[in-house]
Amino acid sequence: MEEVRIGVYICDCGANIAGTVDTKKVTEYAQGLDSVVVARNYKYMCSDPGQNLIKDDIREKKLNRVVVASCSPRMHEPTFRRAVQDAGINQYYFQMANIREQCSWVHENKEMATEKAKALVEAAVHRVVFHEPLQTKEVAVNPNVMVVGGGIAGIQAALEIADAGKKVYLVEKEPSIGGHMAMFDKTFPTLDCAACILTPKMTTVGQHPNINLLSYSEVEEVSGFVGNFKAKIKRKARYVDETKCTGCGECSKVCPVHVDNEFDVGLSQRSAAYIQSPYAVPNKAVIDKKGNSPCRVACPAGVNAHAYVALISQGKFKEALEVVRKSIPLAGVVGRVCYHPCEGECERATVDEGLTIRDLKRFVADYEMKIGREKAGPAEITKEDRVAVVGSGPAGLACAFDLIKKGYRVTVFEKSEKAGGLMRYGIPNFKLPENIVDNEIEYIKELGVEIQTGTAVKDIARLFNQGYKAVFLGTGAGKNHKLGIPNEDNQNVFPALSFLYKINSGDKISIGDRVIVIGGGNMAVESARAAWRLGARDVTVVYRKSEAEIPASDSEVEEALNEGIKFKYSTAANEIIVRDGKVSGVKCISEEKGQQSAEFVLDADSVINAVGQEIDKTELPGEMAYSDLGYLQVDPITLESNISGVFAGGENVAGQLDVIASVAAGKAAAESIGRYLSGVDMREGRSDNMPRVSNIKKDKVKPKSRVAMPKLELSKRQGNYHEVDLGFDESTAIEEAKRCLNCAVCSECMLCEKACEADAIKHDMKEQTLEIEIGSIIVATGFQQFDPEVMYNYGYNRFDDVLTGLEFERLSNASGPTDGVVIKKNGEKPQSVAILHCVGSRDENYHKHCSRVCCMYSLKYSHLLREKLPDADIYQLYIDMRCPGSGYEEFYLRLQEEGVNFVRGRAAEVTNTAETPEEQGKLIVLCEDTLVRKKIRLPVDMVILSCALEPSEGSAQIGKVLSISKKADGFFLEKHPKLDPVSTMTDGIFIAGCCQGPKDIPDTVAQASAAAARALAMISMNKVEIEAATSEIIDELCSGCRICNTLCPYGAITFNEAKGISEINQVLCKGCGVCVSACPSNAIKGNHFTTKQLIAEIEGVLA
């Protein structure tokens, strides 16, 4: 080994080091250390003469190792490495001792600091002996740049690079670029209109051949290293084909959904299909679709409740009914008798009350009947096969409806005189008038479904012989259960089914005064109410279980109670007492929990048995198989019975069902039959897991109760079967529909699809991932406005006319919600306005930092107010006016000249509690005028909160993706706060604009240009140097355990299967040393940080 000859250079750094460390003594000490040939001390070692000292010594004194004791290696290691290299020795034969940041700056005692400096120097001297010559590597730089964020910073950076002839990917998460600046009204201090100076740039970006604008996209993953990054970009589904969309806005005009418009910070509404602003780039529509609304997911028959509610809210009743009819033909029926699972899931219930979704559906059906229905055109028959449906209840009709829409010829066979099944014969008219059923059956007929009434079908083979290729049995459960108690066959005991059948057929029945109904379902309560209408004066429902367990719907029971029906709960009927061949009463036993059972007799003239239904096997074909429960046995998914081609669903399979569940069964069977006839697998993809939307926005919803259903007066209900629920009128329906929260935003009503002439709407679009390769990245993710709601004392969101800065920008903007007229929520012009500075800024409780721009934008607001409201009193409540910038102080002076009242004091509170008549109806701002030491109360009409700028919501995520650090205030950390404010600690990633800290537009543009220049510099160098201090694997020692493979944070280690050992990609390796410490066989060497070097350094410190 050659002789080690070390030169040691101690820097004074002016007084920075020499003020605390006796550099002369340190130099003397270094001179005496082993292998040190020369030790020198100089005022500024980093200066040219300083560096020349080192270079000359290397040449003249044949040095082969150099130690410099000065500042942090972060600062000047590259400087000295270069000097050493220039003088002809390998740059890694150099070691730096930090005696400034780690010594002189942090100590006060000169003597001890000097001792510490000696130790640090000695450590470096010991270490440098073992240094090895290493070679740096160079890699090519990919000339493409990715800019993240399309605000003014991103736009500027993208344009600079694109204009230099390089390719840029500009990624923006919103549908349009422009960021916050596009929302502003005027810009301080020159008062140019923000849009006027920004839109030309936005358009240029949109048209620039070198810019690939990826709007509505987010960066998901970034890998690689300086010069060679790979990024995965999530392109959110726009549901609009960007290549076809012409930006005409027709989709947004027809869209029935209205939600808060983010671009107007919630001051206006936008539709689900929308173009972000009049000057959006790209000028393409986007459909805001968050998933499936809860109501829609809840419907067993898949009716898109959200869509028809949204359409009703816009008065589009006809279109709403069309939406219902896409799924089911029975809007009027289901709109009356459905048990509305949709309402149970309605998210509005978490705010106040769920919507009356069912009643809205009924409304559109009624509305059509009122204005007259156009005859439905026959559905196009596209298939040759014919299908027979047996039974015309809800299941049969729904099945027939779906089949004819699929193009099959369908014949429905009904044994009764009229079609409709239980809808017609099992539900009394006061709940479901017959004409509703007639109308909907007529509609189904008009579509082309043939209905043969009075035709019982028992012979399936005959149907097949007649040419039907498949059969659906929707025969229901038309037989009343027996009570199983003595005397139930008496003439005064009516099974509910036949009782209701008679009533609905208009037959006369004599039931007497006192009626007892046994059972607790809807049919029991309906029978009781029918009996009351027939003239019975004393009607009692006897139910076996408790009140809480009654299966009849709450509204049904409530209405029955209104009509004077009595309920006996936990009571079982034991025997029907007959005297002289007539019913005289029912012997009951009450079995209340925890009480002795008691027997008693209820007097009665007749009894209605409403304990349930079962299927009548005699009416069904003989070859059918039955389940243990006595119902038809079918496959639970396909609904196919034991006979191929024969399907069944509804009550004959499941027992007593709600109408909607029968409809759902009919629809499922239709799907199976379609698949069966076209030879498609009947099971595939039929699990019903429609995902329900989460994160529903409802924090700003003002409570409003649901609209009550108007009812027929009690006195008008007896002696007839007039419908009790009268239905909504148009305005009530709209009012109720407007309460919808639009959970999923887009309701998929599909009106936009019809309206779009360019055929650009694609509701089935999926989000895509794009992979791009770039050499450098510029992060320009901007800021967000502090939400002042947490500062309760300022009353934001409690008082109408307390606005945030951004809200005022939109209010004052000609393209804003009021076309630029400044008005209060009630429409009046404000006579006085207070602008409160430092809201959330300079505040230990929220943000410690000064947001830099608030003083200036507050001045701008004052000016705009003065312009629009010349007579208004304008107050600025400030702590310090901070107006540093070109023309800024002059602007302050101008506002003073314009007569704005400047009050030096921070507002403590905004209240509406008036103490004097003048304060009545005003917002009163409490503050101290600190210049005259007086506590004052300012009554004003409007308060504007100049809110802090804080890091944008997504910046934490993008920081994680890019591995760039944040400062304590949450903004991105720059490499050096003064000398390198556009770089990050990660090479090749630059920052610009407010993501680095609050700043105004001029500073943002300057920083964006600077970041672009840095990226361009890298590109024009064509290559970058890679640090040589990386880890390497000593092949012979590696056991192939692969522990290091998963530990490497940079993905630099892979396993070579052929050799059975791990390998490190020297370009990806950052030399962090994790693998070195983890390797169980010491097979990894951390270059420039070898064990030898580190031990020597420690020994040096301790020597």
Binding site: N793, R842, G905, A907, L926, E928, T930, R933, K935, I936
Partner: protein, 186 residues
Amino acid sequence: MGKTQSMNFVKEVSQVLGGEGVNLCMQCGTCTASCPSAHIWEYTPSEIIAMVRAEMRDEVLSSSSMWCCLSCYSCTVRCPRDVEPTNLFHALESLAVKHGYKPKNTSTPVMYKNFVKSIKKNGRVSEFQMMMGYYMSTNPFAALGMISVAWNLLSHGRMPLSAKKIKGKKDLDKIIKKLNEVRGAQ
């Protein structure tokens, strides 16, 4: 007022328990604007802090301002600089007492003294003894005006004439002793 000084008073205040925040104040006036009694303060809350910073020792310590503090803590909740003005005002009170200042137009110090005296004696406040002590050392005739209130309280059993001592009075004595040691050490 007005003599230019070395910064002794600010330092003194900042070293008293509760006075640490005095240097952080940026004179925004939030404390004054939040203070429900600011209108009766001789100097407003923010002004008294400014006066401390201006080394106006005599004017501050002899003022009645801080004695008007009701300890509602509104200022402390809202102060953007964590000055904790409530604690600061109480620190000024204790400094004033320590150095024998007699504030004008307020008998709050006397009330405080009688309150503490009652606690030290019984471990709890005896309203009767405290108020008797207060009126005796301020204006005994003022007590006459309170007779009907006192009678009402007495007849409802809300103001016993004799004070009951708490359990563990000796432990409380130890706590008070320790407290005095700590304060003495400051």
